[in-house]
Amino acid sequence: MNRLLKFYHELGSPPSFYRITSHWLKPMLILAIVFTVYGLIDGLFFAPEDYQQGDSYRIIFVHVPAAWMSMFIYAIVGVSGIMAFVWRMKVAEAVMMASAPIGAIFTAITLLTGMLWGKPMWGTYWDWDARMTSELILLFLYIGVLGIYSAYDEDPRKAARLAALVAIIGLINLPIIRYSVYWWTSIHQGSSVSLMGESGIKDWDMLRPLLVMALATKFYYIYSMLNRAQTHLLKTEQNKNWVKKALIEVKTDVQPGAGS
C-alpha cells in the first residue's frame, strides 16, 4: 500500500510523470496493434455466424469496444476533472484534456458503426431513441470540454478548471446511457456482455474476439492519452527547468563524443 501511495504521488508531479510514462508508450502501442490484429481476424473470419443477425453482427467487434471506451474514458475525464478542480493537480488537468479527444473519437466511431449496424437490422440509420440520443449527448459533452478549454486561452490552468466543471456535470450522463435500454422502450438491443451472466453472448468463440478488442482499445487509449498528456505538460510547462533538462540537455551531453 505504501509503495502504491508513493507511486501515486510520483505520478502527480509533471517531471516524474513525463519520465515514467515515456517508457510505457511503445509497449502500449505494440500491444494495441497486436490485439487489434488478432481480435479482428478472429472476430471477422473465425467467430461463428449469429443465428438471427447473420454476418452483420460482426460489427459488434468494433462497435461495442468503442462504446465501452466512450463511457470508460468519460468516467476518467470526470474523475480527473474532480481531481483537477479540487486539488488543482497539473497532471490531472493533463490527463483530462488528453483523454477528451480520444474519447470523442471513440464516441464518433460508436455512433457511425451503430448507424451502419442499424440500417440492415432496424431499417434506419438513425432513430431518436434513448440510447442513441444519450450517446450523441456524450459526444457533445466531449466537444464541450474541449471547446471551453480552447476558448479560454489566456490562462490554460483556469481554462482547465472551467473544462473540469463541464466534465463533472456531464458525469450524470453515464448512468443514463448505461440504463437507457432498460428505462425506456428502445429499439437498441440490451447489453452484449454482463458480469452477472443473465443476458448477452454465451458463445466463447464470439466473446473471445470481443474481449480481445476491448483490451486492444484500452491499450490504444493508454498510448494516445499518455502521448497527449506529455504534449500538454511540455506545452504548459515549457519554461520550467525539467522540460529543458528532459529535452535539451540530454542531447547536448551526447554531442561532443557523437562523431566517433
Binding site: T36, F45, D55, S56, L112, R228, L247
Partner: protein, 65 residues
Amino acid sequence: MMELFDMGKYNFYVWGSVAVFFIAMLADYISVSRKHKQIKRLIKAKGKRQRNQSANRRNNRDTNP
C-alpha cells in the same frame, strides 16, 4: 480465400464499420505523433536560441570590455 471476406448482403455495413474504426484510429495516431514532435521541436528551437543569445552576450563582453 475470397469467401472469407464475403459477408453476403452485409458487405458494405461490416467492412464500412471496420474502415470507420481504422480510419479514426489512424487519424488519431497521426495527429498525436505530429503534435508531440511539433512541441518538442519548438522547445528545442527556443532553447537553442536562448543558448545562442547568451553565448553572443558573453562574446561581446569579451571583445569590448
